[in-house]
Subunit: 222 residues, 2 copies
């Protein structure tokens, strides 16, 4: 069985795990404490980051977008990028939105400050960063609602990797108890649909030493 | 003709321009002062970033990776991602290396501090960031040389989007005069091959008010 080196709360690993789940591809998950920079892992990915997919053939793929594009090529059903080139461009635009913009504006100020800093032992969260992350989050929740007012799923008529990338990042922020769901009904309705997918369930069961998710985290009807 | 909204020194715009050049696709370049957040541009890309590709059909594609994947789908020859799924995964891994890791460790500390801050009028470059960017650059130049010792081009036997992404970022740092070529022969030999490609020439002719590239910048035999 292929091995996915991952960290339970990494949004990029979660994106790959959900994509594999949607395709029905079984995987052997191995937690990799990437910040310890162990030698064998660095030989798999000199960037020193998770996720890394190691195939039974010995082929190794790093970078979450490279992995999900590879999965899409090897297992095209159900399609997670879109039916036409323009659909796929819109899906990839939104993946970029969440993996780049949301990540810089929300994920790193919250998950980076609270989790990554603690794991790496490099000090306490910066309160200014936490404040900025929570403020930025509101705008992203509004954008999700705006898209869902116009479309069934974020990139169009079908569930796609755009929903997966967005759900992966938001689920981490939700684990940390930082999503004000009561003020963002539109985004909440979308996230309820995401949470109820079987591919998403394993994420809701993740537990990480030193962190206690809020009671609603694993609750489908929160 | 399709329009590419761009900024001459943006590495992500340069990546798209070179990819279009390799495919022989003509484009109407429009400079977009993205930091001014003009309304019409935000309606094309709510992320407010260049590059944005506007097709004659009215379709709009944002995010450099979404654009180059779209170009690859619409104009498969010459292939810029690789012949097999594993080749394409390696190309995309390296695109991620340069667009994410190199960007954070080198491009933003140098181009971000020197150019973006000045354009946005938000202060002088931070000397600590400049120092860190220059230090990190050495490791990346060594990685390029390491890859070129083992392969013809960065991702394998063929010129690919990995070379384009790497060349796009490095060309911006070179424009700023920050690449110590004399200490990195391996990377220099690779970059000489990149620079001599016709698709790269327009980048070497770019001029930006307030910045003067070093004499060797446009010189193919530097």
């Amino acid at each position: 069985m292929p091995v996915l080196y991952h960290l339970p709360l990494s949004p990029f690993c979660r994106k790959v795990r959900v994509a594999l789940g949607e395709k029905g591809l079984p995987i052997d998950l191995k937690e990799e404490r990437a910040w310890e920079r162990n030698r064998r892992f660095l030989s798999l990915n000199p960037a020193g980051k998770v996720p890394v997919l190691e195939m039974e053939s010995g082929d190794v793929i790093a970078e979450s977008q490279a992995i999900v594009e590879f999965i899409e090529e090897m297992a095209p059903e159900p399609p997670l990028l879109g039916a036409t080139a323009i659909d796929r461009a819109e899906t990839r635009r939104l993946i970029g939105w969440f993996d780049d913009k949301f990540c810089q504006e929300v994920t790193m100020p919250l998950y980076g400050e609270k989790v990554l800093k603690r794991q790496a032992g490099v000090g306490a969260p910066d309160s200014g960063a936490l404040r900025a992350g929570r403020q930025n989050l509101s705008q992203h929740l509004e954008y999700i609602a705006w898209l869902c007012d116009r479309r069934t799923w974020l990139a169009g008529d079908h569930f796609s990797l755009a929903d997966i990338a967005a759900g992966a990042h938001l689920s981490v922020i939700d684990f940390l108890g930082d999503v004000p769901w009561d003020r963002f009904d539109g985004a909440k309705l979308w996230y309820q649909r995401i949470k109820s997918r079987p591919s998403f369930r394993p994420l809701l069961a993740d537990r990480v030493t030193g962190f206690q998710p809020p009671a609603h985290y694993a609750n489908l009807d929160f």
